[in-house]
Symmetry: C2
Subunit: 242 residues, 2 copies
């Protein structure tokens, strides 16, 4: 969608906002990848680096907020232009949360670095986080390039993350009932995989905001949640081994 305003500077300001949000998104996605890597490789140094760098995301968010408010004040946008700026406000909230979730994974990585991390679970964590990371990057691409088709696809793909998360949640729960000595370590791991699943939700939110920017409306159909981890029955451990 190409728009041309009478005041060309306005187009440039909107473009700058998009670029700034794109940079904030790249940083959030990178910190998320590093947090998961720190977890899977028990790399405490990398984890501490993620914790420190999260502040940069918060700083970028403040910068985007101030810049966007200035554009509204200066240009008094309406209709599609206003939607575009308001969608930007939504996206930076999601990106800030991705940064927070990465930081939380990194914190937990530091305390469970010495705990057992069964190979099959590690492989699933890698697969889950790979999907979530890809979703975030593609959601941002769809926003930056105003690609509504891509945005709609990404929004739907969250289902795969939800399903994999539910399966992994059950697998870890089952393992906890066998390995009593490491219950607390597995609890931290459960919270990490929940965080990864939440990153997928935020990617879907970004994709929705990208739709709003490209078309002026949110997708018509309701987004359905497929994460069944909250309703996994408490006898799952014994049932899975019966």
């Amino acid at each position: 969608m190409t728009k041309n305003h009478i005041v060309k500077a306005f187009d440039e300001e909107l473009g700058e906002l998009t670029t700034l949000i794109g940079s904030m998104g790249s940083l959030a996605a990178m910190l998320f990848d590093e947090a998961v890597q720190a977890l899977s490789q028990s790399n405490i140094g990398m984890a501490l680096n993620v914790i420190v760098q999260d502040q940069q995301i918060d700083a970028l968010k403040r910068k985007v907020t101030d810049r966007a408010a200035l554009v509204i004040t200066r240009r008094q946008p309406v209709a599609g232009d206003l939607d575009e700026i308001l969608a930007g406000f939504k996206i930076i909230e999601d990106l800030e949360r991705i940064g927070d979730l990465a930081k939380n994974i990194a914190k937990r990585a530091t305390v469970i670095a010495g705990e057992p991390f069964p190979l099959d679970i590690a492989e699933d964590v890698e697969r889950l986080s790979g999907l979530a990371s890809t979703q975030v990057r593609q959601g941002l691409d769809a926003y930056v390039s105003r690609n509504v088709e891509q945005a709609l696809i990404i929004r739907q793909q969250d289902v795969a993350i939800d399903k994999l998360h539910t399966a992994l949640f059950k697998k870890i729960l089952a393992r906890m009932t066998e390995d009593h000595a490491h219950v607390a370590g597995f609890v931290h791991l459960l919270f990490c995989v929940k965080n990864i699943e939440r990153v997928g939700d935020h990617a879907a939110n970004i994709a929705e905001a990208a739709c709003l920017v490209a078309t002026g409306v949110l997708p018509a159909d309701e987004r359905l949640a497929h994460d069944g981890s909250s309703t996994t029955p408490p006898d799952i451990g014994s049932r899975d081994h019966s």
Copy 2:
């Protein structure tokens, strides 16, 4: 802070927005209370009611979003008025999340209704959720009444929730290492108390937005996180009993 615009209808529109956000907040706080009650009383009917009612929060959010965008388009606000509307956008994101967290607690309440809920832990959950609920309501009051002193106090009180949550997290972890038969039930309970702690975070966010509306700037000092549950060492169970 009393403002009088040349166009009196503008004041009325801003007032209506605040009232609408206040109503959304009351509903979110009520659903949160009911979700915790459903959990502590194993009341599945109440839990299912929360799950259904969360849709009303989402509908109210869409209404506020549309109304706020209309006010911006019609009145082209600048400075304090624009801040006020943008703060409203932030608050409804927090309220939507409180609704989501209530729904998640309610879902988990339905699956652990038959699980053990030790009295000391139940009392702590009640205390924690009571604090969080009060914070949400007082944060909203501070926003609606533009009371910056109250907002600053609420923002700081989140520390008490964080500390109580960390202690409760450790207590539940320690119980899990003793009671292997109910590990999965306790996992759901851990996620519920984490959700309650998150509601406290959102209350603090609302208080910050209230400061922004009342003063035009966010509080100068950094808000410190005191939730130590993420960095609770995995040997906590054995250490607490050594």
